[in-house]
Symmetry: C2
Subunit: 298 residues, 2 copies
């Protein structure tokens, strides 16, 4: 690979720039960023890439194009660069939901052009280029989407690219991806937002200053609920069928818990409260978290 | 204060023993613990206290008695020690819900004996004496319950005691306490359990191995859902009216989110997703968490 173009330079885009530069994976790194605020930050941070004003200007020179903007921006940018694309270029993105966007992308992209979608399971509640880091993808899963029309050559290239970045690869189709992440990522984020919203409603109604006692649990959710709203709106809207089902399952289970609590059903509630521990053991075993108690951060 | 009796030596009890000993706040520390497993651990850890076989044997020598067992154990122990108590002894506990237990305690306790309830907002998902630490209560809130019949002398003593331990004091009545913590602590824990339960149900139905992708959000909830089941059953059962209301508010809000998602109501969802950020800002300002992005623990 000679040159790479990073479209959108927030947390993920800027992390890619840092690691690509650090590991010398490209000759030139081009950066296209719309926000003036972010452009100023990129200059101040002296990120190792060349800022371009219009993506279409350097498309011909780019062997790998990675979309790191919120997903709702993809269409606008595709329309700008479509005429300059050729079938040898590898195009990917880092979006968190896949099926619906794959359809939009396929409709808008010029024929013969392949788009091979990636989803690195890495991030944080913060956004912006100042938070990016070269080790963001290290030892994290990167899901590569393989459907009927996937260009296998591009898939192979991207698999090798993400491995060089430090990620572990798993390949699945968009449908399976969206189902899995509706439960492991999208629903947890929605729940966190919803819990904080409920605390705000309660505070307003009761006129209690309760935020100061948030160390008992609410604090951890508030961190997740501080994530980027544009990114998460896009995810929620574009995986709505799966998320809707996940919400229904969640509410069904919550009502069962409520019933156990109201009837003080000891056997039923203890079964639930102990069974969930198994997941924790599995998560530790799979190295998705460390086995160290959390007493709050200080 | 001369001697203190710690009843129940888990995470909180053993932390109290450590800090009382470290700060030399008592002449003798007595420990009553029912579980043989914990007794073996206490001996192995060489915790600085005297293990007693029956709490009634050393009640007369104890100036301060702190219940650190699950709340469902209180009644059994009160019945054992009731005849040995005198009105000068200060009795407290560290339970997480107050109103209903206050009623049970008042019914069971001998007349003239006061019980002044404490709730230190400190803990973790782990339990057992091996996890205790002398700094567990440092800079954490400790709620002291003041109702009509509270012994003000005892309240004053406990306020000074918890301050020496390192805590910040806030005084409120049991009703307000239970309302506030139903939202900031009890509901978040229930939600975490429920999310993990929903993920398990989904996994079973879809036969997807999804736990390995839990870094996208589920991981953080699984930690909270690994908390002690006996303690949380007691909390859920004994604050059921408030928790039930909190669940209803949560479900109402979740259904509103679902509606926004299904109808792709941009304005309404963005209002919610941005509004919740204000709570995060407040939490940081109130020093209930640190302003450091979380990229996962390693």
């Amino acid at each position: 690979m000679k040159n790479v173009l990073i479209i959108g330079c927030g947390l993920l885009g800027s992390s890619l720039i840092r690691v690509i530069s650090k590991k010398k994976l490209a000759k030139k790194i081009f950066i296209y960023e719309k926000s003036k605020k972010n452009i100023a930050k990129i200059k101040k941070l002296k990120l190792p890439g060349i800022l371009v004003k219009k993506p279409q200007d350097i498309i011909l020179q780019s062997d790998l194009i990675i979309f790191c903007t919120p997903m709702s921006e993809y269409e606008r940018i595709i329309l700008k660069i479509n005429n300059y694309l050729n079938s040898n270029q590898i195009i990917t993105d880092v979006g968190s939901s896949k099926l619906e966007f794959t359809k939009i992308i396929k409709k808008k992209l010029k024929k013969q052009i392949s788009w091979t979608s990636s989803h690195p399971i890495a991030g944080s509640e913060v956004s912006g280029p100042e938070y990016g880091r070269a080790d963001l993808f290290e030892n994290k899963w990167c899901v590569l989407i393989k459907d009927k029309k996937t260009n296998l050559k591009h898939l192979k290239f991207l698999s090798s690219f993400w491995k060089k970045i430090g990620s572990k690869i798993v390949v699945m189709n968009a449908d399976k991806h969206d189902k899995i992440f509706s439960i492991t990522s999208h629903l947890p984020h929605l729940i966190a937002y919803n819990l904080v919203k409920s605390a705000q409603d309660f505070e307003k109604k009761q006129k209690y200053n309760l935020i100061k006692y948030s160390a008992g649990g609410l604090r951890d959710f508030s961190r997740i609920a501080a994530s980027n709203e544009i990114m998460w709106r896009d995810v929620f809207f574009h995986n709505k069928t799966n998320i809707s089902k996940a919400i229904s399952l969640f509410i069904k289970n919550l009502n069962a818990f409520k019933k156990d609590i109201n009837s003080k059903n000891n056997k039923s509630i203890l079964k639930k409260l102990t069974h969930t521990k198994k997941v924790r053991t599995k998560i530790i075993k799979l190295k998705q978290d460390i086995n160290k108690p959390d007493f709050g951060r200080s």
